[in-house]
């Protein structure tokens, strides 16, 4: 079994979180406003414009499941349970330091969970339209953007100016570009970086609270990797190239992503919300900021949207751009929307794109590692 080579200064996700905890504590002590967030639908620019720092709240960790199951049903997606469990048990330091939580009615499980979460701390839940093409969907979502603006203003006793919003949009668009360029290192064949490292750096960087510093770090790392590719990798044979699709994979990074690479393939891209999904799509800087934000954040290709054709388009594009040999879809247990979309995704990947597809359903526990390994191993064997 091959070991993934990691750079000497590689910081694991738990290490990054620990550091982030101290950084956030210092930030908070300096009087900075902190808003806890969960999802790609969150308009971070509105939080930025309130002179607050948006921070990703914990949604992973098997240890966060038992405290959640005191209230939530067992047969619920592990991401929802871990989000709730991390918050109620005070295991999630980011929740602890958040002044308020900003969430969205993405799936049924999450929105009902937020009803309980809202009892502990001010939780603003944005009502997301069930589909992006519906009559009035955009107008409704725009009203929700305005409602969030008002709530942030009332909560903090401030005014969010359009000027502030425009600045935030520009900064976040630059951040998007830096993240996207970094992810696109994965389009190089053979890849100069393991998917495990690629993904860990991105997720760890969610805790880099100084966006300018984060952009500079990612730009530097991207340039180094491209240099490494030309010096060491170009023209060499490639292992089978895998694209990850489906549910967020933060919680199963060791169990699935790392294992794929140990079993002999390269994870080169992520077509899920841990990947460049929304990074490719900047906020329009020329429009009225609230309209531009509403439009952008309605274009996120999540399976909670019905219909969700954007996902297949993005998947097809990534299969081509990243020179993908096979797609592995990760569905978290009891995530109905991704589980249902799976058949359509399989059909598209195998028939339209003509490459093999594997869907695995799993949760945050390690009890099924053996079965997962067999599936991943057999899939990599069939890729040859």
């Amino acid at each position: 079994m091959s070991q993934i080579k990691l750079p000497e200064d590689f910081v694991t996700y738990p290490e990054a979180r620990k550091k982030a905890f101290m950084a956030l504590k210092a930030l908070k002590e300096s009087g900075r406003r902190v808003v806890g967030t969960y999802c790609t639908y969150t308009p971070q620019e509105l939080v930025d414009a309130a002179d607050a720092t948006p921070v990703s709240l914990c949604a992973i960790g098997e240890e966060n499941i038992p405290p959640a199951e005191k209230v939530l049903p067992k047969n619920l997606c592990p991401l929802i349970k871990a989000s709730f469990g991390g918050a109620v048990s005070d295991r999630c330091p980011f929740y602890y330091f958040s002044d308020m939580v900003l969430a969205e009615t993405t799936c049924d499980g999450k929105k009902k969970m937020y009803e309980y979460l809202g009892k502990m701390k001010h939780t603003h839940v944005m009502q997301l339209p069930p589909g992006r093409t519906g009559e009035g969907a955009l107008a409704f979502w725009k009203l929700e953007m305005e409602a969030l603006r008002r709530d942030l203003e009332n909560f903090y006793g401030i005014t969010i100016t359009d000027e502030k919003l425009r600045q935030a949009i520009k900064l976040r668009n630059r951040e998007r570009k830096a993240i996207l360029n970094y992810y696109e290192v994965g389009t190089l064949k053979p890849s100069p970086i393991s998917g495990y490292e690629l993904n860990t750096i991105i997720t760890s960087n969610e805790y880099a609270f100084d966006i300018e510093k984060k952009i500079a770090f990612l730009e530097k790392r991207t340039a180094e990797l491209i240099e490494k590719y030309h010096a060491e990798c170009e023209g060499k044979p490639s292992r089978p190239r895998i694209l990850i699709s489906g549910c967020p994979t933060h919680g199963v990074i060791d169990k699935v992503i790392k294992r794929i690479e140990e079993l002999g393939a390269d994870v080169v891209g992520f077509e899920n919300c841990c990947g460049p999904r929304e990074k490719k799509d900047p906020v329009d800087e020329t429009k009225d900021p609230i309209t531009a934000l509403a439009e952008k954040y309605l274009r996120v290709n999540c399976s909670v949207m019905s219909p969700n054709p954007g996902r297949l388009e993005a998947l097809g594009e990534q299969i081509d751009d990243y020179k993908v040999d096979g797609v592995i879809e990760v569905v978290l247990m009891a995530c109905h929307t991704y589980a249902i979309e799976s058949s359509a995704v399989k059909e598209y990947v195998t028939k339209e794109k003509g490459i093999p597809f594997l869907s695995i359903t799993t949760d945050y526990s390690t009890t099924d590692q053996g079965q997962i390994d067999t599936r991943l191993g057999a899939f990599i064997e069939l890729l040859g």
């Binding site: 009890t367 053996g370 067999t374 057999a378 069939l382 040859g384």
Partner: protein
């Protein structure tokens, strides 16, 4: 002489096949896996030595869930690839749909031109597996083979619990109600067949020649019920329970090259 050895350490049974250069089976071993895959692997090695295997001229591929516990294996290959490859060899076709009902897994494998094209495995649950049959047979105080024979004479009972533990309670309550062994056995086999058929529904079996491998391939009644439910002919033969080991032995021949 060269020895191509395939060792399939499954959750219940360990199967070993030795092929010669011309891919003929020269030895077959079958033993319970027991509690330690490592010890079982050691016992297999001793037995093969007794049978005259010359280790200097042997290539070994291990498969099955205990594949990583065979220290003398040259390579590990997953049981999915091995079952596909082995079934092609046994059934003399490069285009097959393989239904493998094993101890803890039920797998459906589509093979095109000798290569695994797609596969489906049961989730982390023992419904529709050999383990389910074994536990129900124990509850009825018969062997799995006897259960299948009894089932042929029964009818009219269906077991609705998908969970093996709950299904066992269901069987116990059927016993308590005085239901005949034959009828309960029918319900048990029916439950397995339905579960396999549901899984198979996700693959286009109609396009393939379908065959049954794994520990349950010897039970004619189960095979017949599968044929009826899936509405396709299902092939089986005694060596099909060695399909994984045969596939591994064929892979061993490839390792040598």
């Amino acid at each position: 002489m060269k020895y191509n050895i395939g060792i399939d350490i499954g959750s219940t049974c360990a199967k070993t096949i030795v092929l010669n250069e011309t891919k003929e089976i020269i030895h077959r071993l079958l033993q319970p896996t027991g509690w330690s895959s490592v010890e079982t692997a050691g016992a297999i090695r001793e037995k093969l030595t007794e049978l005259g295997v010359d280790w200097d001229n042997a290539a070994v591929v291990a498969t099955g869930y205990g594949r990583i516990s065979v220290p003398y294996a040259d390579k590990c290959v997953t049981e999915i690839t091995c079952h596909g490859r082995g079934a092609c060899h046994i059934f003399g076709s490069d285009n097959l749909a393989v239904i493998d009902i094993g101890g803890q897994d039920t797998k459906l494998i589509c093979v095109e031109d000798g290569m695994v094209k797609d596969f489906i495995m049961n989730d982390k649950c023992s419904a529709g597996t050999g383990k389910f049959l074994e536990i129900m047979a124990n509850t009825l105080a018969v062997s799995p083979a006897q259960l299948c024979e009894l089932a042929e004479k029964g009818g009219g009972v269906s077991i609705s619990s998908m969970c093996t533990v709950f299904a066992e309670s269901e069987v116990i309550s059927l016993i308590g109600r005085g239901e005949s062994k034959e009828n309960i056995a029918f319900g048990v086999v029916d439950s397995i067949v339905k579960k396999v058929a549901t899984q198979a529904g996700r693959l286009n079996l109609q396009d393939f020649k379908v065959c049954l491998t794994g520990g349950l391939c010897d039970f004619p009644y189960l095979r017949q019920r599968l044929e009826k439910t899936l509405n396709v002919p299902v092939d089986a033969c005694p060596d099909a329970r060695y399909a994984g080991a045969i596939g591994a032995a064929l892979s061993a021949a490839a390792v040598r090259k």
